[in-house]
């Protein structure tokens, strides 16, 4: 009888270990879109999650990578295509467009004005808060390659790492919540 209990106990312990290793109190978000509104949403959710003590890992890929550019920085040694992309892609958060009602920049200015009036922090402030809360930003190396973006032109963010899809997948596998924006 006692042996039976012991066996059951060990079985349960094994299962608990597996569950604990399996998913953490962690949110992984793919930030794919380079639209102002979608990145604002991504950052509000991330900061909110961090306020709930959830670990946050953001995977910036494709159009979103351009949002990480610092308007005051530039990178040397780009090839022709890289330079072209560099010119066409928005240079940082202040140059992002709205996914709807952009109206040649009028919509974006309006939304920023409304946000200020309603005391919603600006996207730039949200990135600063995210850094203070330890939110990790992983940037997709392949997207950077495709668009000719270099690390030197990114914002000074305390937890920024260049990585590949395996990092995202490993993070996502361990996360209770996964989102795609």
């Amino acid at each position: 009888m006692e042996n039976e209990f012991e066996k059951q106990f060990l079985d349960l312990q094994k299962k608990v270990n597996k569950i604990e290793k399996g998913t953490k109190d962690q949110l992984t978000m793919v930030v794919f879109s380079g639209d102002l509104d979608k990145i604002i949403a991504a950052m509000i959710m991330s900061v909110g999650a961090a306020a709930m003590d959830t670990q946050v890992k953001l995977f910036f890929t494709f159009w979103a990578t351009a949002a990480l550019r610092d308007k005051k920085k530039s990178a040397k040694g780009k090839n022709f295509m890289g330079k072209m992309f560099g010119m066409m892609l928005p240079k940082g958060t202040t140059k992002l467009k709205l996914s709807k009602m952009h109206m040649a920049g009028m919509g974006s200015s309006m939304i920023k004005g409304i946000m200020k009036k309603k005391n919603v922090p600006s996207l730039e402030e949200m990135f600063k808060t995210a850094g203070e809360l330890g939110i990790q930003i992983n940037v997709c190396e392949m997207s950077m390659d495709l668009m000719g973006l270099k690390k030197e032109e990114f914002i000074d963010y305390p937890h920024l790492k260049i990585c590949g899809v395996a990092t995202f997948l490993a993070d996502a596998e361990q996360s209770k919540v996964q989102l795609f924006i």
Binding site: A51, M52, P121
Partner: protein, 84 residues
Amino acid sequence: MTQEEVNALNVDLVVDARGTACPGPLLAVKKAIGDVEEGEIMEVLSSNEGTKHDIPRWCEKMEHEFLGVFEEDSYTRLFLKKAE
């Protein structure tokens, strides 16, 4: 909560998050919870409608005890007790 229930509470810290928008109140509460001792009571002021639903959920997750809400004319008072 009734006015009597609120008056009976021994609030140790008041956090004024009025004027901030989501996730401002949440951040303010997260920051302030470190300033109170276990078992102490914190009061949060918010002019944000959503905070009424957000703070109870935050408490649930962080295992603090949510005590209740009291509505003033232009803002909400929320009470919670830090987990022991």
